[in-house]
Amino acid sequence: MKDRFNLYRFASPAVFYPLAGALIPYFAAVAVVFGLAGLWLGMLVAPTDFQQGEGYRIIFIHVPASWMSMFIYLVMAFWAAIGLAFNTRLSGMMAQALAPTGALMAFLSLLTGALWGKPMWGAWWVWDARLTSELILLFLYIGYMALTAAIDDARRADKAGALLLLVGVVNIPIIYFSVKWWNTLHQGSSINLAKSSMATTMLWGMLLMAMCFWMYSIAVAFMRVRTIMLERERNTEWVKNLLVGGEK
């Protein structure tokens, strides 16, 4: 790892702060581009579904949001592991910065799932295995945010939250498996994506929207992590210089 020494440099909040600040506009711009492309494909180009009419188009929000909610949790767990193993401060801050966006994605997935389900099934909520697992994922996010908010000492909050994330990541497959089992035994309804017959345009639309959400998440997480850094390191030299210098 010839770059190891360089990478370590970016683990310092003082170095990462301006870097993140510089990168945010780029991520935001890319997010907008992907979003426009994805929405264009999803809303205008993709063919009308024979059975579900126009309403199905909400999957272009629903599916990417589900993917992102899961992905963000894994990224948070990754930073948790790094933070516990190497005792780096930035990892904990990054995990805390990502949490609200992850929770938002999970909530968005549930909301759009309900909006999709109502015209299809006539009910705002069906206990579909995927939606139920998504709900439990939302609980895991909220648990993490509640725990880190309840601990005053930032380092202890990071470490406790990290441990909770690792326990959660181990449990997610178990929870998903048990919910699927429960769902099939009780012959619950399921929202079918009929992946085999999915038009390529639909898949592309969802992928583009997923990229949009991903870029958005990074941009927002960077913004949040900068705020967290300022708050936590307010007594250090670099923050004091920053505020005196009047820099943004």
């Binding site: 648990g143 509640a146 441990l163 449990n171 089992w181």
Partner: protein, 222 residues
């Protein structure tokens, strides 16, 4: 290795014997919560029989949750938890002892009372047997997983509610397999599959959870 576990179990049991009010009140909580459901839903025997496994299991989850803060909070408050962490034994083994003692005092009584409550719901003899057995082998997992939550929230405000938020999602597999075992018995499919999965969950949580709990305790003791 077993010496320290038995020493901790004996210590916690002796302490529990001198503070019986705590244990009995958690048990009565279980009984009251179970009795609330028919009052809320109506006394139709068919409906109650269908709901019984879920109701009893949810009440068991809540009763266990109620007793979780007791696991470490008292020892933390009087300084004995520190001494346990400073003992020349791996903290994970000490935690295993505490979890076993917690189950003996909180989980086992639930399993003994559950069949009596099941009668209130007019469950068949076979269903009652499977229910009791399921609660017996499932509650150790609840104690084990719950210990992680209790350790993470040690000394924090909003204690009880915060622990519930962290731990209840992790309890869901135990709930599904535990209640599912009884359901399967009632519908004639046989509960063996569920019970084996439940047993697997218990073994896995008793094997791994104490080490996660020990790590959480060390974070809390800093």
């Amino acid at each position: 290795m077993f010496k320290i576990i038995t020493a901790v179990v004996a210590r916690d049991l002796r302490l529990a014997m001198r503070r019986q009010a705590d244990i009995v009140s958690a048990l009565f909580f279980f009984v009251i919560v179970v009795s609330l459901f028919p009052l809320g839903i109506g006394p139709e025997p068919d409906l109650l029989r269908k709901l019984a496994p879920g109701v009893l299991w949810v009440a068991a989850l809540l009763a266990t949750m109620l007793s979780l803060p007791r696991l470490f909070a008292d020892d933390h408050r009087d300084g004995t938890l520190e001494q346990l962490a400073l003992a020349p034994h791996p903290l994970g083994l000490v935690v295993t002892g505490k979890v076993i003692a917690h189950w003996l005092v909180s989980g086992l009584p639930l399993a003994l009372v559950a069949p009596v409550l099941g009668l209130q719901f007019d469950l068949s003899r076979e269903a009652l047997l499977v229910l009791t057995f399921a609660i017996l082998i499932g509650t150790p997992a609840l104690s084990g997983i719950g210990a992680i939550g209790a350790a993470l929230t040690l000394g924090l405000r909003g204690g009880g509610v915060l622990v519930s938020l962290l731990v209840l999602p992790l309890y869901i597999p135990v709930l599904i397999f535990g209640a599912g075992a009884v359901d399967a018995t009632v519908t004639g499919l046989g509960g063996e599959g569920h019970l084996s999965l439940l047993a697997a969950l218990t073994f896995a949580s008793l094997g791994f959870a104490p080490w996660a709990t020990a790590a959480a305790l060390k974070i809390a003791l800093e």
